[in-house]
């Protein structure tokens, strides 16, 4: 009998790239259905046009350059779908076609394909289309959330992603299944919440300083501002921001791989999106913010390389320095060897 010989490990996870992509597509399906329900046939047209173009373009490029055909892994379809959700349903049909073509050619393949592109192709295509045909790409309305019910169904939504933040729950399930990493979304989300609240607090304090108030209790009371939701918060908690947090920022090729780096990247995204969104609107703010964060992702990665195991971090070193001065009779801490 002949036996196979190969290098270890001899058992690997069943999970592959294809599963990852298709699970993202499935997680987005409820949202697509809601969008089609609200916007009708044009929405369906845009989704189909975008997905089909993306897949065909990928097939064409790989055939022309004699590469291995990888449309089966669902990556192109996923990009097409995400892109479609970011296009206003009133747009003429050639907009999604062009955008999807642009995303796959320039966004993905010019940079070297899967894993090599440095900007999320969806964002690249969106920004290009938006700059070129601003009038077609402007949604009819800018969504913002007034009541809680809008979290479930957003009636004023301009883009397809905006129709229902709640339907993006599939993304949370993907995090639970560890199909997408939790660090980036968590850091991103936390930053998006903390920043407006801090701003509220700071502006409250500034107002008091301006009035010349000297009562410390007045300043203390501003602490409560941290707990009451600021108006900015409800502006930012819209479908597209959740979409960005769960699906765009977590795109693996454009986020750092180091553990610390992913946290820093999430915070960077949150910061940039907040700055853009605060001074303009959160729809554009999200896309430009994440796009800019893509630019620095590699820088973040290079600067958060882990040290050799067991190397002390800065904080630990400082702690050691202090603890080593204290006589051992006063210490409760762990005694090392002997």
């Amino acid at each position: 009998m002949t036996y196979t010989i190969s290098a270890p490990p001899h058992k690997k996870t069943k999970l592959d790239f294809k599963t990852l992509n298709f699970s993202k597509i499935i997680a987005l399906l409820p949202l697509c259905l809601a969008a089609i329900y609200f916007f009708g046939i044009p929405a369906l047209g845009i989704i189909v046009a975008s997905v089909v173009t993306a897949v065909v373009t990928e097939f064409a490029i790989q055939t022309i350059f004699k590469q291995k055909i990888t449309i089966g892994d669902g990556h192109a379809a996923m990009l097409g779908l995400m892109l479609a959700l970011l296009i206003p349903p009133e747009a003429p049909i050639w907009i999604p076609i062009f955008a999807a073509f642009f995303a796959i050619t320039i966004g993905k393949h010019v940079f070297g394909g899967i894993g090599s592109y440095i900007f999320n192709p969806v964002l690249v295509a969106w920004i290009f289309t938006r700059s070129a045909w601003a009038s077609y790409m402007t949604p009819a309305s800018i969504p913002h959330i007034g009541q809680f019910s809008d979290l479930i169904l957003e009636h004023g939504a301009g883009l397809m992603v905006g129709v229902s933040p709640i339907l993006l729950i599939g993304g949370v399930y993907l995090i639970y299944k560890r199909y997408i990493d939790w660090r980036v979304p968590l850091a991103f989300f936390a930053t998006m919440i903390i920043l407006p609240q801090t701003l509220l607090f700071v502006s409250g304090v500034m107002a008091l300083v301006h009035e010349g108030s000297l009562n410390p209790l007045m300043y203390m009371s501003q602490m409560f501002a941290l707990l009451s939701p600021s108006p900015e918060l409800s502006y930012s908690m819209i479908g597209i921001v959740f979409f960005g947090i769960l699906f765009l920022a977590t795109d693996t090729a454009t986020s750092p791989v180091t553990k610390k780096g992913r946290i820093v990247y999430g915070i960077t995204c949150g910061l940039l999106v907040f700055i853009y969104g605060y001074f303009a609107n959160y729809v554009d703010g999200l896309i430009y913010g994440i796009f800019l964060a893509n630019c620095v992702a590699s820088f973040i990665e290079m600067n958060t390389m882990p040290a050799s195991f067991g190397t002390m971090s800065c904080a630990e070193k400082a702690y050691r320095r202090v603890m080593d001065k204290i006589p051992s009779s006063l210490k409760f801490e762990v005694v090392n060897n002997e």
């Binding site: 009998m1 036996y3 196979t4 010989i5 190969s6 290098a7 270890p8 490990p9 001899h10 058992k11 690997k12 996870t13 999970l15 592959d16 790239f17 599963t19 990852l20 990888t70 892994d73 394909g113 899967i114 894993g115 090599s116 990493d181 693996t252 090729a253 454009t254 986020s255 750092p256 791989v257 180091t258 553990k259 992913r262 390389m305 882990p306 040290a307 050799s308 195991f309 067991g310 762990v334 005694v335 090392n336 060897n337 002997e338």
Partner: protein, 449 residues
């Protein structure tokens, strides 16, 4: 758990003359000789080697190169067994001096499962051992031939004392696995020098040093999570004792000897009864959920072990020592050696044949790596031959656990690439003069913490 004994005699027994890293033994027998159970058939005068014994009674039919589970061919003694239990006279070795005990360990052919003869671990040339650890994290308590968990606990402690005696070490610890309830229960409340011990978990900076003080005892039992890996020793030492082993050194450089359960058990048996290391328990798994422990004589071909497991279908792959880091075998006529712990069989359709695609930067490999490396980056650098850069991001720290390659959705052979880089680095630096520090001190310049 129950241990089956492999009773049927195989057609031939293949005993490799090198079952450890180090010098190959000289055969002490020649073709046509009749050997007895326990008879020494191979020995070397080198310090870095360990004696080899016959596990059956029979006739030597050849001394030739034969397959070895590590994938190479090794000079082996091939014996045709006969149905007889004739053995040489064994004599126990109690109450001896440490020096003699070390010699006795070499004579009994006791080697560590990672391939180093036990006596050289305990008494490395030019280094002093002060702590002996028994690593029980990777094998079940039944890994030896213990009857009950209680047996296991008390014998392990005795073995630890023997190891400490042979090494001249003052301190010793047994490291269990946190999720191995049965063993923890067995050790909980065991008495050492009339003091009850508790099984203490290793958390954060609470390493064995802390527990030596806290429990005010020279012997402690601790527990930690499971780690796999081929080059696990340095990391293990760091986790357990807090002593960092420099790259290129081994735990003995910081005064720590790491032993396995198997060798500890073998030592215990050898001291109690005088029986040398000639049989071992291997676990057989695969094809079904059944896992079996079988006591086999060293030198039994894998084929006979698999037959006794009861599987007769087509076999796609035979793996020695576990699916994570084990070696796939090209023949089933490869013998069980002292280092064999597990035989895994896979059906032809279970054999993986994935094609690697590009890395998608999903960072799964980073999340699982126990020693905080960036495997995806290491793989890329190894692939492109940028070995210096991979050294800068600590490629040598890799304990070769294979977790990264196992979780990669792109199916990149990360572990293989990392090994390639490690080998290349080792070869490139092999003929460099020793580092400066070694001019000042004899041996390795690590000298401690």
């Amino acid at each position: 758990m129950e241990i089956k004994k492999l009773d049927t005699l195989p057609e031939k027994i293949i005993i490799p003359l090198r079952q450890h890293r180090g010098a190959v033994c000289e055969p002490l027998v020649k073709k046509g000789d009749r050997v007895l159970i326990g008879q020494k058939i191979g020995e070397s005068a080198e310090y870095q080697s360990s004696a080899v014994h016959s596990s059956v009674c029979g006739e030597v039919i050849a001394i030739e190169e034969a397959a070895h589970p590590d994938g190479n061919k090794v000079m082996s003694v091939i014996i045709q067994p006969e149905d007889s239990n004739e053995s040489v006279a064994f004599s126990a070795c109690k109450d001896v001096k440490p020096d003699q005990l070390a010699k006795f360990i070499k004579e009994s052919g006791i080697v560590e499962h990672y391939g180093i003869p036990t006596h050289t671990v305990l008494r490395p040339k030019g280094k002093k051992i002060d702590t002996v650890l028994i690593n029980a994290t990777s094998s079940e308590w039944i890994g030896g031939t213990f009857k009950t968990p209680g047996d296991y606990a008390s014998q392990m402690l005795d073995a630890l004392k023997l190891l400490m005696k042979a090494a001249g070490a003052k301190k010793g610890a047994i490291v269990l696995r946190t999720d191995d309830k049965e063993s923890i229960d067995a050790f909980e409340g065991i008495e050492v020098n009339k003091k009850k011990l508790k099984v203490a978990p290793l958390i954060g900076s609470r390493n064995v040093g802390y527990y030596f003080n806290e429990q005010n005892s020279d012997i402690v039992i601790v527990s930690q999570e499971r780690i796999f890996g081929k080059k696990i020793l340095n990391f293990f030492t760091y986790r357990v004792t807090g002593r960092k082993v420099k790259i290129g050194c081994d735990p003995t450089d910081v005064g720590v000897a790491v032993c396995g359960i198997k060798s500890a058990k073998a030592l215990y048996d050898a001291v109690q009864t005088g029986v040398p290391f000639y049989d071992t328990v291997v676990s057989v798994e695969g094809v079904s959920n059944k896992m079996e422990y079988i006591l086999v004589r060293i030198g039994t071909p894998f084929k006979d072990v698999i037959d006794s497991y009861g599987y007769t279908g087509a076999i796609g792959k035979i793996i020695a020592n576990g699916v994570r880091t084990g070696v796939a075998q090209y023949t089933d006529q490869v013998p069980v050696t002292k280092g064999t712990t597990r035989i895994t069989i896979q059906k032809p359709e279970e054999v993986i044949r994935d094609e690697a695609i590009e890395c998608i930067h999903c960072a799964r490999c980073v999340d699982v790596c126990p020693v905080e490396l960036i495997p995806s980056r290491l793989a890329v650098m190894a692939d492109q031959g940028r070995f210096d850069e991979s050294r800068q991001i600590h490629v040598e720290n890799c304990i070769e656990c294979g977790d990264c390659a196992a979780v990669c959705p792109s199916k990149i052979p990360i572990l293989q690439l990392i090994r390639y880089a490690k080998d290349a680095i080792e070869m490139a630096y092999e003929d460099l003069p020793e580092k400066e520090s070694s001019n000042l001190k004899v041996g390795c310049g690590c000298g401690g913490e």
